[in-house]
Amino acid sequence: MDINFDRTADDTILIRIGGNWNIENGLPSTDEFERVAGTKPLPARIAFDTTQLGDWDSSLLAYLSKLTDYCGQRSIAVLRQGLPEGVARLIELASAVPETKDARKERHRTPFLARVGEAVLYAGESMGEMLAFTGEAALSFSRFIRGKARFRRADLWLLMEECGAQAVPIVSLISLLVGLILAFVGAVQLKMFGAQIYVADLVGIAMAREMGAMMTAIVMAGRTGAAFAAQLGTMQVNEEIDALKTLGISPMDFLVMPRILALVLMLPLLCLYANFMGILGGGIVGVGLLDISPIHYYHETKAALSLMQFLPGLIKAVVFGVMVALSGCLRGMQCKRSASAVGEAATSSVVTAIVSIIVSDAILTVIFDRIGI
């Protein structure tokens, strides 16, 4: 990488380029050239002498195109005759299409307040979209009730299997462990009063009223809600949803409604199952660690739980089912047309689902407390 500048008499800078140019040695700076070219009297042209040039690659091209740009801005002529033929052709190719000026995206910093404002506007907008989607889902549901919704029965069965039977193993594990944890936490406190037996009440009531529904819903948000978002998002990318629309079939009826129905039907069943698994988990701790006899534990649980105790949990499970399915489908239908958008849709569906589960849980708990169930 040898560069020498010779000012010849007739306003010409002769640039002698020699040696091997390899991109691993970095790019030479053009400061030296700018200094030479900037001294008065200003040169009218530059020429090249490359007789000493060895191997070359993009580093030479990058250097030369920088020089060419510099000369172009100051109307200094560039005589390319001295360059090897390949270099001259590539430089010409690079300058053949002028840079599209407005194609370069400008990165300008927005002030903090403006960003806060934009975020608020965006939040309002997305809230509106959410409500609109819920409204459309409600209309679609009423079409379904009247038997006018167009969807494939087979899809509904398949979805019910996917978000029902296939979720049983994970729901078993999670709810059994939650039951265990509840029993442990309670046992430590209750043992101080010698009231270990009430672990059965604690676990039973907590699972039936609250934890069964909540844990199942959260598992389903991660498992099924994300799957819904990814499925619908991929269909959006693949134009499958467009194909439905242009056929006059509502994607709401055909894709969204069966998913909501499947989840709303399956979640309460899973929740009920989770309740029993949780109680079993509590039982393991009670029998194994607290020396309560299985029969005693069973009777205590039975005494603590009336059928009415299951009602709040089941109502919550239905509501959570709607929430999880709606957020999964909403994010899927909003998905843009790229692979990364599908990932974002899946992530955001889980976030939306979990937030709406917790918020609606809080609201429902207060309501149940007020009306006394």
Binding site: R150, E239, D242, L247, G248, I249
Partner: protein, 254 residues
């Protein structure tokens, strides 16, 4: 070929402006597609060809202007009328857009069961016929993921033809196909027009297809964001003096 002589307009696009928000993609598009024509929408990449197609088939509302089907304005009609107009379309999407959870037979059957009162057995027969027409006999029970890209496209055509549409739209039919498959597809398109009298609108930038099948065309220019030529592509290449069109139609070696 008598019936193609009297030029009867089938689709009219009037003063159409397409935009995403405030970003205008194409403005002031006006052209007519005659019945029985193979009409090409051409132009460089990113000039808005596919967006024009989306505006024409009802997936995206134009910012301004009208699309008329047999004189009826699509975007000014109510939902029921729109559905009636759309029922007469068949669309082949760029990637085929087969519903991935359904077999090829179910894909082709869905439009039939949606719009006709045929029995299951009758639908099965029709489905087999349509798949045979595009050379996919015997692939009824395959899922889209189990067949090649070219086969997906052909299955997409079978689905688009399911309801014997008056107008077939093709979005980049030969994209991603080898030259021989692409030619077979072109022949299929011409065959469909000749035998069924279907009007065909094709979005493409494949020169070979443009000259092989096009009767009429519109050229969209990305720079000026409007159309700069209308007419038979074979005549355009001979007569047009616009360097942009000549460059495009001759791959830049005029």
């Amino acid at each position: 070929m008598d019936r193609f002589d009297k030029k009867e307009s089938c689709i009219e696009v009037q003063d159409l402006t397409m935009a995403y928000g405030s970003f205008v993609i194409q403005r002031d598009l006006s052209f007519t597609v005659n019945r029985g024509d193979i009409f090409i929408i051409m132009g460089g990449s990113g000039c808005g060809k596919s967006t024009l197609l989306r505006n024409m088939v009802g997936l995206q509302a134009p910012a301004k202007g009208k699309v008329l089907y047999n004189g009826a304005s699509f975007w000014d009609s109510g939902p029921e009328e729109r559905k009636n107009i759309m029922r007469r379309f068949g669309i082949l999407y760029q990637s085929g857009a087969l519903w991935s959870s359904m077999t090829l037979a179910e894909n082709v059957a869905l439009p039939l069961s949606e719009y006709t009162r045929l029995s299951h057995a009758e639908i099965r027969e029709l489905v087999s016929l349509k798949l045979a027409l595009v050379g996919l006999a015997g692939f009824e029970e395959f899922y889209p993921s189990e067949i090649s890209g070219g086969m997906c496209k052909r299955a997409g055509i079978a689905r688009a033809m399911a309801l014997d549409p008056d107008i077939l739209f093709f979005d980049e039919p030969s994209a991603g196909l080898d030259p021989i498959s692409a030619r077979r597809l072109d022949e299929l398109i011409v065959e469909l027009r000749d035998s069924l009298g279907t009007t065909v609108v094709v979005v493409t930038h494949e020169l070979a297809s443009i000259f092989a099948i096009g009767d009429n065309s519109v050229f969209l220019d990305a720079e000026s964001r409007t159309m700069i030529a209308v007419g038979d592509p074979k005549k355009l290449i001979e007569e047009s003096r616009d360097p942009k069109i000549r460059n495009f139609l001759t791959r830049g070696n005029p």
